[in-house]
């Protein structure tokens, strides 16, 4: 199963991709919003997208809005992650169609379980 990891924190992205790969996922990393959108539009598309809110270019929330607004990507589950604990940000992400909101630091082990769960509901 393909997963797009969109985060400009290359250290976290590297670990997340390595851990997910070890658990059978096929991760692709994107380091800014434009790259994330391009990868999401690819054929075949990712099965799940992990999207950081704070990235160069558009914010993750703007990227989320584009993903959920496009017929090509609207059905792909999106996990939004952020260092913020703001309920307002989490609520905004949910309103824009985020399937889950997770707060950094993230637990890669728990992430795999979460992605599997989303894959089942995709």
């Amino acid at each position: 199963m393909r997963v797009l990891v969109a985060d400009d924190d290359r250290a976290l992205s590297h670990v997340l991709c390595a851990r997910l790969r070890a658990q059978g996922w096929e991760p692709t990393a994107a380091f800014d919003s434009m790259q994330a959108l391009l990868y999401a539009m690819r054929t075949p598309p990712p099965d799940v997208i992990i999207l950081d809110i704070n990235m160069p270019g558009e914010t993750g929330l703007e990227t989320l809005k584009r993903l959920k607004g496009s017929a090509r990507t609207s059905r792909i589950p999106v996990v939004v992650m952020s260092a913020t604990t703001s309920q307002h940000v989490a609520a905004t992400a949910a309103a824009l169609g985020a399937d889950r909101f997770v707060t950094k630091p993230v637990d890669p082990q728990a992430f795999s379980a979460l992605l599997s769960e989303l894959r089942g509901t995709a």
């Binding site: 250290a11 976290l12 590297h14 704070n54 952020s82 630091p105 637990d107 082990q109």
Partner: protein
């Protein structure tokens, strides 16, 4: 150099290395415990860091290399934003550093980055300057611990 260990490493020794270098860094900070601006938390949560990479030494080295490659620029950007009075850049880069430091289990750097974010939002430049000075010290401490950990994991 805060710790030295003979190679080859034995299984389980990785956590021991991290615990020793982190404890040494924490100890060095007790001298400043009565000074204003002391940051709560640990320099490094070594067990959580091991958990992050599932005990994989190679992955830990790669993670540390990437963290040390990108985070100093964030600290520099924060310093420049405070100097220039740029609230947007300060908030954005402090937020980015908070996330990166939290992932690296650097509790103190994450905490001070959070305080910098708050100072940026409030436009409180006096607090921002003080936190920025504290950040430089705490980041240097975290960097030293991670460099030690990286050397300790070499095959």
């Amino acid at each position: 150099m805060q710790d030295c260990i003979a190679k080859p490493l034995r299984p389980g020794e990785l956590l021991g290395i991290l615990q020793r270098v982190a404890a040494a860094a924490d100890g060095s900070n007790t001298e400043t415990s009565h000074q204003p601006g002391r940051v709560p938390g640990r320099v490094l949560d070594e067990a959580a860091l091991i958990n992050l990479v599932a005990g994989d030494r190679k992955l830990l080295r790669e993670f540390i290399d990437l963290f040390l490659e990108q985070s100093p620029q964030l600290v520099a950007d924060i310093g420049a934003a405070v100097l220039c009075g740029d609230r947007a850049v300060l908030e954005q880069q402090a937020h980015a550093l908070r996330g990166a430091a939290a992932t690296a289990t650097g509790e103190r750097v994450a905490a001070i980055a959070y305080q910098l974010e708050a100072a940026a939002r409030a436009g409180n430049w006096a607090d921002a300057e003080q936190h920025c000075a504290t950040l430089r010290g705490e980041f240097a401490r975290l960097r030293d611990v991670l460099v030690c950990a990286r050397v300790g994991t070499l095959p």
